[in-house]
Amino acid sequence: MIRMRAVTKTYKLRLIERPVLDNCTIDIPTDRRLAIFGLPGSGKTTLMHLLTGLTEPNAGEIERFARLSFPVGYLRALKATLSARQNVVYACRVYGANVAEVSEFIERITGLGSLLDEPLRRLPVADRQLFASTLTYAIPFDTYMIDGHFGPGGPRAREKCLAMLEARAETSGLIFATSHRTIALRLCDTGAVLNDGQVELYEDIRDAAEAFERLESERAMQRELSAMDEEYGEDAMEDAS
């Protein structure tokens, strides 16, 4: 369980400022397969960073009662000047995993062979991403945190990552932040919707997906209306007068 108490967070860049959470108090289950739906730009990534502990909230408290993974495929934690193998050793030490088991698993799944001994930055992008995703699944966690992508883009890599994820999901929890309903319905059994600074939980994933669908169509309608406003606004004003 992740316990959030009165958490407020604003995503701030130099020009953009978006409220992600506004005084949000909620208990997020970590032993379920939870999909968190959110419209593009609603702050799913920031929420995932808050949940894992990569970012601190502006106000409020977050307590974690499970061993959460880092976001699947999170490359920034790894050192690009070190080899993939050295990074595996480091990650295993940090998370208390068995180095030999994890290395053997990664070797078998990625099939990168001696490329694993080259500095990470020399690896082709796709291989690096596959490596980082495999590393996440190779380490045992209570809950796997997925921010949008459970694996890199290529179809073969996606298949591999999906298989690993499904194997892990049999015994571990899953938190999957996404804006795609199809894949979430396939992977998850419970859902939540992030909207307007609040997270709302739904026991059944289908209810969450439905709520999100309504949200999406609302947003689409708003878009259309404002586009129409821009296009016909002046004419309409003239007609009215």
Binding site: Y11, K12, L13, H49, T52, G53, L54, T55, E56, P57, N58, A59, R64, F65, A66, R67, L68, F70, Y74, L75, R76, A77, L78, K79, T81, L82, Q86, Y90, A91, R93, V94, Y95, G96, A97, N98, E101, V102, F105, Y137, A138, P140, F141, D142, M164, A167, R168, T171, S172
Partner: protein, 273 residues
């Protein structure tokens, strides 16, 4: 993939926290010790501590060529060495630990915190500088047969190094906060600190300065660290200016202020990406 999750200790409680902390610190220590500035060379972090050696050799050569005597004691090498090492314990620590806090390039796993990185970098720099200092004074003693290269009072030597190290750590944390507000500071601080070392009594004895100037030199806390260190080597080193409380209080205040500000600013600013 087959590791039993059940074998792992459960989250919650003091012991789990300590276990995670220990894992993170030991993993970081091993990784940074091996890779930092080393690029695959296992003793890279010791090589990073060669700078004080170069400075000692440069100053000694200069003094020799200019036909100047050591400011105190018979041996020029020991005099300069006892000035350079405490100063570098401060400078390198203060400059290098601000990187993990202020830098944007340092990624981390969610269980690591920036302060873990700070702690490990500080310890690594202490170890490397002390190792090189041991090597230096050992060579001076065994090769040049200089009796004064062996400290007469180990308590003062360790105390002085500890005080300078703490001052470096607190200044490093404080610097990182300033650098978050004014990124320009990262470029300025190495200059300021390197200029300040010339006022720290590296190659002169502050007590022998005219009393009018002396009190201004005494504002510099590193100067106290240097004379503290030297009292461990020279039993009769003048101690008019030497004030241990001053350097300890300075670092305590800077540390408190730095940690408080760091905590505040961590919440207000700074995205992980």
């Amino acid at each position: 993939m087959t590791s039993a999750v059940d074998r792992q200790p459960r989250p919650g409680g003091l012991w789990y926290g300590l276990l995670v902390q220990f894992r993170v610190l030991s993993a970081l220590f091993l990784r940074e010790g091996e890779s930092r500035r080393g690029k695959g060379f296992a003793f890279g972090f010791v090589a990073a501590a060669l700078e004080p050696l170069i400075i000692i050799i440069a100053i000694s050569t200069l003094f020799y060529l200019l036909d100047r005597q050591a400011g105190y004691g018979a041996s020029l090498l020991v005099f300069v060495g006892t000035g350079v090492f405490p100063v570098y314990v401060f400078i390198h620590t203060s400059m290098r630990i601000r990187e993990p806090l202020a830098g944007t390039e340092v990624g981390r796993f969610p269980v690591e915190t920036s302060l873990d990185h700070v702690l490990i970098h500080a310890i690594l720099h202490l170890i490397s500088t002390v190792t090189v200092a041991f090597l230096f004074f050992g060579v001076v003693f065994y090769v040049f047969h200089d009796r004064q290269a062996i400290p007469c009072d180990w308590v003062n030597v360790i105390g002085a190094i500890g005080a300078n190290f703490m001052l470096g750590v607190s200044m490093g944390i404080f610097n990182s906060v300033i650098a978050k507000l004014v990124p320009f500071w990262n470029t300025v601080w190495p200059g300021i600190s390197r200029a300040a070392i010339h006022f720290s009594g590296m190659y002169f004895v502050a007590d022998f300065l005219p009393p009018v100037h002396r009190k201004f030199f005494a504002i510099n806390p590193i100067l106290h660290g240097v004379s503290w260190f030297r009292t461990g080597f020279y039993p009769t080193y003048p101690r008019i200016l030497d004030n241990h409380n001053f350097i300890i209080m300075t670092s305590a205040i800077t540390m408190t202020l730095g940690l408080l500000l760091e905590r505040q600013f961590r919440r207000v600013m700074g995205e992980a990406d």
